[in-house]
């Protein structure tokens, strides 16, 4: 008997093997490689959908399913990729994340303006909270978002992948081109420390 890491860690089914760095997949997708594009979709879409579901208030979901919203956004980003300038590591995730958040905001505004049960439009001052806001509080979420915005793309990417999308260290190493899971782990902890500092400054 021995104790040690399992002989081989198979990649989880959600992420096809081998894991190519996102930047490499993006480069291939940009060159018209359909497989690379599919890999990007398969890699991010399910997790982005679940992440977005926590951000979209129940009331705002009736007309456009969260899944559709995220899929449309990701397809639009990938199709318009030639026209998008993504700079540096983490730029793609940051761009997709922000685009989905913008779509959600639009959706919330739209749903708040549509007529309520009594025919009178509901005001945009009273949007129902998202599940995440319900769980942690709107003020905390706002400070979290502002703190994230002050980090660099690389830090934001790591936190998005780990904290929000729940990729494991091995996957993140493969996706970001970092040398090892330990390197990822250390980088994520540093990014968390930075974010906590930013959030703490606002308290």
């Amino acid at each position: 008997m021995r104790a040690g890491p399992p002989p081989q860690e198979p990649p989880p089914p959600a992420v096809p093997a081998p894991l190519l760095a996102t930047t490499e997949l993006l480069r291939l997708a940009k060159d018209g490689d359909a497989h690379a594009r599919e890999q990007l979709m398969a890699r991010y879409l399910p997790r982005l959908r679940r992440w977005a579901a926590g951000r979209l208030p129940m009331r705002a979901r009736s007309l456009l399913d969260t899944a559709d919203l995220v899929q449309e956004t990701l397809i639009a980003v990938l199709e318009g990729f030639d026209r998008i300038e993504v700079r540096g590591p983490g730029g793609f995730q940051a761009y997709v994340r922000q685009t989905v958040l913008n779509r959600i905001k639009d959706q919330v505004r739209w749903s708040a303006r549509r007529p309520g049960p009594d025919g009178v439009p509901e005001t945009i001052d009273d949007p129902s909270p998202s599940p995440l806001e319900n769980a942690i509080g709107a003020d905390v979420l706002a400070r979290y978002e502002r703190g994230l915005a002050r980090l660099n793309d690389s830090e934001r990417e790591l936190l998005h992948l780990r904290i929000e999308l729940d990729f494991d260290y091995e996957e993140i190493a493969g996706m970001t081109g970092k040398p090892s899971r330990d390197a990822v782990r250390v980088a994520i902890q540093r990014a968390l420390a930075r974010l906590a500092e930013e959030m703490g400054l606002e308290r």
Binding site: M1, M58, S62, D166
Partner: protein, 598 residues
């Protein structure tokens, strides 16, 4: 300053790894200057926990296009995440318990589920739910709370992830006798725990049994809503009457034996791959139920006779012909399992002791290679110390054992064989082979020191757990199921079988206090250091003797062969029985896996 830095590093690691943190005590102990940062870290931890719950919850929330107006978003302290299903008497949601930051299943009973009997019925349900919340059993879904809001009774409990037995049989067809035995033992002991709490489950059926991510079969959907469904014919028509005992159709009250009947019929279904009755109306079902199902071996003749007979008895038409209790049912099933193994060709029980000892020398060589690192380290780090320690232990007075007056507690332990995406519980005598990854699932109802010892074929003993490099340390916290060895630097580990031939012998020790004999052996191991190979401490046979003294040795069955001079030191410990309640002092159990040559 350094302490603060280390503590913050530890918190960052916990947030990133998803490990629980007691934020209340961290905040309480923090200096004023640290509190702002701790508060921000706590908020990040909440965001991370909620995000993980979303990611691990399966598909995104269902679109509430239909019926969204009626769907609440919040229920008391619970945030409703998605509907999981609706039955005749209740709606079930995946929910987030905001205060405790955990995911739960919320069952909202329909206003009329209590039988239109108003407050009295509600009060009875609440009382029953509170009793259910006191049940702690690894195969019973844990009920966290019950309350009543706006005329609806709500019950929230562990969200068990996995696949139902109904789905397993649907996908794979009839199950093997071994699998059915596992199901029977897991679910039967769960029902025994429910009955022990003075309750009935009332809705045992394949759809309410889930094989969880660790391979355990868990009894879910704790009654309440099914209370009326099982006690009146009218409500049975709207519920699921397929597993109802025949006397219930005749108006008798539900009983322990009607739960046993449902378990028997569930096992019949699992072994036959289909339900015994094919009825398209309640009248036909009642008629067929009155006649009873076919004998199991008429459907599958290869099922071992003892097991088939037990299942047939559990589904007897007359309640008095069924096993008297779920506990008795489980005991009989366990003896069936042991008998089946002993009778199997080539099984260990059928081999002669001579053959076993003749093979010993060759196996010793193989196993020595498998744990060579440990042996070398033990020699290098003080064989002499070890000898001295053994002498000390041998002379230690009996009072070295933890005080027997320690409050009684419950222990649950089982080895799991782990695949990439699942785990199966191992029973004593099961087979393992090279490459298999093993973990010990352990839980105690009090904080406890856990030790896992391995005995090789030369009779030498090594401490597999704890280990300086493992993240999980003693004592393990109360009421938390842990998988050992746990993680090393955040990466989950398992004990890996590295060679074939012989048997793997383990001794599991759970103690309310650290055991000085073992701690002394552990103390000689080098300190944890990243990159250092895993090294095991060796313990002497005298330490095992002391364990036998403090843990108690159960008498061998009458007529059992006396241990030979070369018998294994672990052989006089009781075989692992999974779960034990009311333990006082040290709990020791051994488990042996067959590891034959290919």
């Amino acid at each position: 300053m350094s302490d603060n830095h280390d503590r913050v590093e530890e918190l960052l690691k916990s947030i990133s790894d998803g490990n629980p943190v007691d934020w209340d005590s961290i905040t309480r102990d923090a200096s004023t200057g640290d509190r702002v940062r701790i508060a921000a870290l706590s908020e990040l931890s909440r965001i991370a926990a909620f995000s993980r719950s979303l990611q691990r919850g399966g598909e995104p929330f269902a679109s509430p296009a239909a019926g969204s107006a009626a769907q609440p978003e919040r229920w008391g302290d619970l945030l409703l995440l998605e509907p999981l299903g609706s039955g005749a008497s209740a709606d079930v949601y995946r929910a987030w318990e905001i205060r405790l930051q955990r995911e739960v299943a919320l069952k909202l009973l329909r206003p009329d589920a209590a039988g239109n009997a108003g407050r009295d019925a509600d009060a009875a349900l609440l009382q029953e739910g509170r009793a259910a919340a006191r049940i702690r059993h690894p195969s019973v879904v844990t009920v966290h709370g019950i309350d009543s809001h706006d005329g609806r009774v709500e019950l929230w409990m562990d969200l068990v992830r996995g696949v139902t037995l109904e789905q397993i049989v649907h996908d794979r067809g009839p199950l093997t006798a071994d699998t059915a035995i596992r199901i029977g033992i897991d679910v039967g002991s769960a029902i025994a725990a429910v009955h022990g709490a003075g309750l009935l489950h009332r809705d045992v059926k394949p759809a309410n049994i889930v094989r969880d991510e660790r391979g355990r079969y868990v009894l879910t959907d704790f009654g309440l809503g099914c209370r009326t469904a099982a006690t009146s014919l009218a409500s049975a028509q709207s519920g699921t009457p397929m597993y109802m005992a025949p006397e219930l159709f005749a108006g008798a009250a539900a009983s322990e034996r009607s739960d046993i009947y449902a378990l028997g019929l569930t096992l019949w279904f699992a072994l036959a791959g289909r339900h015994p009755f094919e009825a398209d109306s309640l009248a036909k079902l009642m008629a067929q139920s009155g006649q009873g199902p076919a004998r199991l071996r008429e459907v599958r003749s290869e099922i071992p006779e003892e097991i088939a007979a037990l299942v047939d008895r559990a589904v007897a038409r007359r309640p008095e012909d069924r096993p008297a209790s779920a506990a008795r049912f489980v005991e009989t099933l366990e003896s069936c399992a042991t008998g089946a193994r002993a009778a199997a060709p080539g099984s260990p029980g059928s081999r002669g002791a001579t053959r076993r000892s003749a093979r010993g020398a060759a196996l010793a060589a193989l196993l020595a290679i498998a744990i060579a690192t440990a042996a070398i380290v033990t020699l290098r780090n003080g064989r002499d110390d070890s000898a001295a320690n053994r002498a000390r232990v041998a002379n230690a007075p009996a009072t070295a054992a933890p005080a027997p007056a320690a409050p009684a507690y419950d222990v649950e332990a089982a080895f799991l064989k782990r695949d990439d995406d699942a785990a199966a519980r191992l029973l004593n005598g099961d087979r393992v082979s090279p490459g298999d990854r093993l973990s010990l699932e352990v839980r105690a109802t009090r904080a406890a020191w856990v030790y896992v010892l391995n005995e090789d074929d030369r009779g030498e003993h090594y401490i597999l757990f704890p280990q300086p490099r493992f993240d999980t340390k003693n004592p393990i916290p109360a009421d938390r199921t842990l998988l050992l060895p746990g993680t090393i630097d955040g990466l989950e580990n398992a004990w890996t079988v590295t060679s074939a031939g012989g048997r793997e012998h383990f001794l599991i020790v759970v103690s309310p206090e650290p055991l000085p004999e073992i701690e002394a052996d552990l103390g000689r191991l080098p300190a944890a250091e990243p990159g250092r190979p895993i090294e095991y401490a060796q313990v002497g046979a005298s330490t095992v003797e002391v364990l036998r003294g403090v843990g108690g040795v159960s008498p061998l069955p009458a007529g059992a062969a006396q241990p030979a001079a070369r018998s294994r030191a672990f052989d006089r410990f009781r075989a692992l029985a999974g779960r034990e309640t009311g333990v006082s002092g040290v709990w020791t159990r051994q488990i042996v896996f067959e590891n034959p040559r290919p």
